[in-house]
């Protein structure tokens, strides 16, 4: 028994360490990228179209911009946007999910209909429409991504609260004379917290990928921004001329950071809610 326990503890520690390393990497990219924002815009025609070398590990583009600085700056922008939009989305999800569950049948019907509406339209299509209607650019992307990503988390929270309301221990607490606040904080919060935190972190990769895609399609951030979507769509014009490095490294970095966020989310989920792994 004691060896089992030690192993379990060790595994928790290993997972925590790996997740912390992933978070540190993403944080470093975010900070470095915002520091290098100007370096990413610097053009120098004496070094244009260089293949990856020691000085420019990701090569340079047709205007002589350092692709490494541009990639990191673009990712940093994506991550900051992703965190902002995921937080707004999660807040919307929390408020709507909660009000659907506690404010009676009419509110529940309205919120459920909105969830079905948002989830029924293809994500990227809705995102493009909202972003375009809000005038594209930074504002368009933030509003678009925030307004399209809350639905699944809201549904999760609604279901969880409904289930908790019907659970025997909540009904017993009511008979024991406990008030609504007591039940909300002592009984519901400990059950909702892990779901909410996991849902929030797992929103980041979605938000980042969708920001990059909508920008790639030309309905997102403006072309002068060093965004991953902009870098990738510009590189399309140069791929045919054999400049593979323009798309490969930024693309790999985007995929890597999305996977790291996903990994962190799953690890956090396993650490704070081990039982859910078996569901």
């Amino acid at each position: 028994m004691s060896t089992d326990r030690a192993f379990w503890k060790d595994r928790r520690f290993r997972m925590l360490a790996l997740a912390a390393a992933a978070a540190a990497f993403l944080l470093a990219v975010t900070v470095l990228g915002s520091v290098w924002h100007d370096a990413a815009l610097e053009t120098d025609f004496s070094r244009k179209n260089l293949a990856p070398c020691l000085k420019y590990p990701f090569g340079t583009d047709w205007m002589g911009r350092d692709m490494f600085a541009r990639t990191v700056a673009g990712l940093s922008l994506s991550i900051r946007l992703g965190i902002l939009t995921a937080c707004v989305s999660a807040a919307i999800a929390f408020v709507l999910g909660l009000s659907a569950a506690v404010m009676g049948r009419f509110a529940d019907g309205a919120v459920t209909m909105m969830i079905d509406l948002v989830m029924g339209i293809p994500h990227i299509l809705l995102l493009v429409l909202i972003s375009y209607a809000c005038g594209k650019g930074f504002k368009g992307v933030v509003i678009g991504v925030s307004l399209t990503h809350w639905a699944s988390l809201a549904r999760l929270i609604r279901g969880e609260v409904l289930q908790l309301k019907a659970s025997p221990y909540v009904k017993i607490a009511e008979k024991l004379g406990k008030g609504k606040l007591y039940i909300a904080f002592r009984h519901m919060a400990p059950n909702l917290f892990p779901q909410f935190i996991t849902g929030l972190i797992l929103l980041f990769p979605h938000a980042i990928l969708h920001e990059a895609s909508v920008t790639f399609l030309g309905f997102g951030l403006s072309p002068e921004q060093p965004a991953i979507g902009v870098i990738l769509s510009e590189s399309m014009n140069h791929l045919a001329m054999g400049r593979w490095w323009l798309a490969l490294f930024p693309g790999l970095f985007l995929v890597a950071s999305v996977l790291l966020f996903h990994y962190i989310g799953q690890t956090v989920c396993r650490l704070i809610d081990p039982g859910s792994v078996h569901e």
Partner: protein, 213 residues
């Protein structure tokens, strides 16, 4: 206090089978009543209605002349169920189960009940999955025995336990109800248990059988 079900009927789904069909039942403080019937005859449903968890379709469940489900704050009628693992929050330590009981700051009373039920201090720091079903049920019983409880409804509360533990728990419950003059309703399949514990035994017969055909 007097708890009574008057002409109570109940069904779970609209148009479904009548689980209870015009049932009458009375229990008073200081009285111990056994309820027995085969499975599916609505014993648990009757207790849920008496405890105010469900509202009867027809008839009334009255506590001193007032519908039980209308009592706000601490309800003098408390029910202990047959699934302790569903009756406690899986994410909270067991000491919080005891904290929910009604002790009015009377720590001695709480401690007397805890030791009477054989609750060990080391269990209190554990989560519900970390103790056995029998250990968990003791917490649920202690929680229901708060000072303002007048009538206790016990729904197959020891079915999952071994005979020694059953004996221990019923020994304590019997002493406790006599000492405080509590009313007690015991639902069980075991005639021997009911004959030992109760003043009188009620058989729920299936009048509603006629309606099924």
């Amino acid at each position: 206090m007097k708890l009574e079900a008057k002409n109570v009927s109940f069904r779970y789904t609209e148009g479904g089978r009548l689980v209870l069909d015009h049932v009458d039942f009375t229990v008073e403080e200081g009285e111990r009543v056994g309820v027995t019937a085969p499975s599916g005859f609505g014993k648990t449903t009757l207790l849920k209605i008496l405890a105010g968890y469900e509202k009867p379709l027809e008839g009334e469940a009255l506590l001193d002349g007032r519908p039980v489900s209308e009592y706000r704050g601490y309800c003098p009628v408390q029910m202990i169920g047959q699934h302790p693992e569903l009756s406690v929050n899986p994410r909270r330590k067991l000491k919080t189960v005891l904290d929910e009981g009604d002790w009015s700051g009377d720590f001695g009373e709480r401690q007397r009940i805890e030791s009477g039920l054989g609750i060990l201090d080391e269990w209190k720091e554990r989560y519900p999955v970390e103790v056995s079903g029998g250990e968990l049920q003791r917490f649920c019983i202690a929680r229901a025995l708060g000072t303002r409880t007048k009538i206790l409804l016990a729904d197959e509360i020891t079915t999952m336990l071994d005979l020694v533990t059953q004996g221990q728990i019923w020994g304590f419950l019997l002493g406790e109800t006599m000492r405080r003059g509590l009313g007690l309703v015991v639902v069980s399949h075991s005639r021997e248990l009911l004959e030992k514990v109760c003043h009188r035994i009620v058989e729920v017969d299936r009048k509603q059988e006629k309606n099924d055909g």
